[in-house]
Amino acid sequence: MFENIKIWWHQGKQYIPDVTNAKLPGIFRGRPVITRSGVDEAALVELCPTGAITGNPVCIDLGKCTFCGECAFRFPEKISFTSDYKLSANVRERLVVKEGDDKGIVVEPSKVRKGVRSLFGQSLKLRQVSAGGDNSCELELNACNNVQFDMSRFGIDFVASPRHADGVVITGPITANMAGPLEICYNAVPDPKIVILVGTDAISGGIFADSPALDRDFLTKYPVDLYVPGNPAHPLTFINGVLDMLKKQ
């Protein structure tokens, strides 16, 4: 008994009190900032492994970006990555950062689907589906509920059965072999329901975008409520995105 209390005592306070303003340790590649300085745009576009960078004006699509940071190393005067982890958006175009922009990425309240806030504002249960994910986003989604991030305190939880869920969280580029099970799972969630895409692979296919082994039809059939970029998405990116969508700050 006393040993248990000692262990418990030695752990100290682990939870992050304010998940909306927490500072990340060391360096973190979050939201990029692109200056207007002139560089060899063709070389910059060519550099990106997933085609996230386009020229004239220079833009980075965070839905395609793997956050490898190579562009910032080669063209430090043009691109730098800030430690801003609030990257989630409910409008796909919002994920595109243009040169000269230095404003945060936000969830647009007017575009949040009707009923999401009134129905799920107090309690949101999610079913996660890994559809070709490399297990990195899955690790970070698990971390959302560890003693540090403790997402449950906001009434947001992952559940085992789609019948108990209010929506699905998809990771991975959606392989052809998972397209069927994903749709069955989605259909098993009672209406109204939401869809959240987590990670570069889920949002755009990432490095796998042109693989013939994928089947991303699901995304053309059903509306997406939230895009959470990252490779993998940081727990704070996910938690803040969902909180913004639910207007819980």
Binding site: E70, D134, Q148
Partner: protein, 522 residues
């Protein structure tokens, strides 16, 4: 000569690999494994011969609908047998025709079971005596399109006493998909069949499609997110050797350090997961939170908690500084205090031990027969550790590695193995950061792969042996890229482990192995 003998990361010309008649190829490779626990097959794969004899670009293998073209050509097989005593890998080849029926290696040695199933799936090669000839991952370019993941031929039991339990592909937690079919007698598991392939993303083909080094490195980083460091090191070591580039000590240093940090982080997380599955909340929380300072350190060093972006061929964007070394030393000091306190409690808690001991046992004989690697071999007394048998990076240079070996093959052995390997890795890291090499950037490194080469790269990731093989064509582009995650062998060990256990013990058996779905499915 029946084989060519190479060492880890040694590039040789493709033509130098001896080609044998199939019968002799079979006898030679199976014979090498007979009564030799120090030898095992690290890779065995095939490719259409037409791709190389024509000298045409790789894209020609596929038609406009991205289906593999019908080839009248034969399949060339390459088999690689590692010898842990001589530190050599013996490579030989044979050419076969898909329409002919062959004797299987598997009937003589179960090490080859998955490889032959893979070749049966990809090329339609038939074997007359393979005990379990089923597709392994339902790849999009498989030979038999009529075989679909929905109609997988599960082993069944026609009995009034036994019942079947199906789980997945979507599991209860936040984990990757796979379908598990149990045959049970009441609570007792008689048999488990694991069907994978749901995560198949076509990675090996993408390696041939992509041309830029940045794309290839990104692909390697996304093979399995929990082994980012392991797989990326396998790729960059392979690529540098293929280009005839010898990296300096500081690159070897940062790779070795990252690999051991990944080992500590995942092992700690797995101990947390085992505690969760036996309902031990304190262990679950404490080990779970102890993973965080380690992965947060990876972020402090390279900007990403799972070390994506950290390892690059021929260079690094994140030289390891003395300041980072001092910071890591203090993180490890704090980690060790809490880890040791928790561990001394956990490992003497009777209610925990009663769930772990003698649960999910796989014997030495079984792991040898299956050909498991890494932790899943060392838990049962089989010494398989690439760090000592086929050293890479700083291993074999900086320090001599003594593998941690356990003998009981149960969940408890796997948990103790993790505990001891965490201590061992901390020891290695402490030694390393006492002598941090100066980072000197080598300007103008040109990495151009040599033509018509074969190369094999082995890395001991936290889960076990990772093997990447590559062949370049006569333009110096990748003509074949073959990846093998340790899970490829070890899934069978899990299926053996759960036999005769209660079905409620399946979760701890599963977590104690923590195998990769995406690393298997590719």
């Amino acid at each position: 000569m029946k084989y060519i003998s190479i060492s880890n990361n040694q590039a040789v010309s493709l033509d130098s690999i001896p080609e044998l008649p199939y019968e002799e190829f079979l006898e030679s490779n199976v014979g090498m494994l007979t009564d030799s626990p120090e030898r095992h097959c690290v890779n065995y794969f095939g490719f259409w011969t037409g791709v190389y004899s024509s000298g045409g670009p790789v894209e020609d293998q596929y038609d406009e609908n991205k289906n593999r073209k019908e080839y009248s050509e034969n399949v060339k097989l390459i088999c690689c047998i590692a010898d842990d005593k001589t530190h050599q890998i013996y490579v030989s080849s044979a050419t076969v025709a898909p329409e002919v029926v062959y004797e299987s290696f598997t009937a003589r040695n179960h090490n080859f079971e998955k490889y032959e199933r893979e070749m049966h799936e990809a090329f339609g090669i038939q074997y007359n005596n393979h005990p379990w000839l089923k597709p392994v991952r339902y790849s999009h370019d498989r030979a038999g399109k009529a075989e679909t993941i929905e109609n997988y031929p599960f082993f069944g039991a026609d009995s009034h006493e036994l019942h079947e339990v199906g789980v997945g592909p979507i599991h209860a937690g936040i984990i990757e998909p796979g379908h598990f079919r149990f045959i049970c007698n009441g609570e007792q598991i008689m048999h488990l069949e694991i069907q994978l392939g749901y995560q198949h993303r076509g990675i090996e083909q993408l390696f041939l499609q992509k041309k830029k080094l940045a794309e290839l490195t990104t692909l390697a980083e996304n093979i399995a997110g929990d082994t980012t460091v392991g797989h990326t090191i396998a790729f960059v070591n392979l690529w540098e050797s293929l280009c005839g580039y010898r990296p300096g000590r500081s690159l070897h240093f940062s790779r070795t350090l990252a690999l051991e940090l990944e080992r500590i982080a995942i092992h700690t997380g797995d101990m947390s997961a085992v505690c969760a599955d036996i309902g031990y909340q304190l262990g679950n929380s404490v080990y779970g939170r102890l993973r965080t300072p380690i992965i947060n350190f990876l972020q402090e060093w390279g900007g990403n908690r799972l070390a994506k972006g950290l390892i690059r061929a021929g260079r690094t964007n994140f030289p390891f500084s003395r300041k980072l070394g001092a910071r890591l030393a203090s993180i490890l000091d704090e980690f060790e205090l809490d880890f040791n306190e928790m561990t001394s409690k956990f490992f003497k808690l009777p209610s925990a031990l009663s769930r772990l001991e003698k649960t999910g046992v796989v014997t030495y004989g079984q792991v040898l027969e299956i050909g498991t690697v890494g932790m899943a071999a060392r838990m049962s007394g089989l010494n398989r550790d690439i760090r000592s048998s086929h050293p890479f990076n700083l291993f074999g240079e900086g320090f001599t590695h003594e593998p941690v070996i356990k003998h009981h093959g149960d969940v408890y052995a796997r948990v103790r193995l993790r505990r001891d390997e965490i201590h061992q890795s901390i020891g290695y890291i402490r030694k390393m950061i006492a002598d941090i090499p100066e980072f000197t950037e080598v300007a103008g490194v040109k990495l151009n792969p040599q033509r018509n080469m074969f190369i094999l790269s082995l890395v001991e990731g936290w889960r076990g042996e990772i093997c990447h093989c590559a062949i370049t064509d006569n333009e110096g582009s990748l003509g074949l890229y073959k990846i093998k995650d340790p899970s490829f062998h070890n899934w069978m060990a899990l299926a053996q482990a759960v036999r005769n256990n209660g079905i409620s013990d399946f979760p701890i058996c599963n977590k104690s192995f923590n195998l990769s779905y995406c690393g298997h499915d590719l």
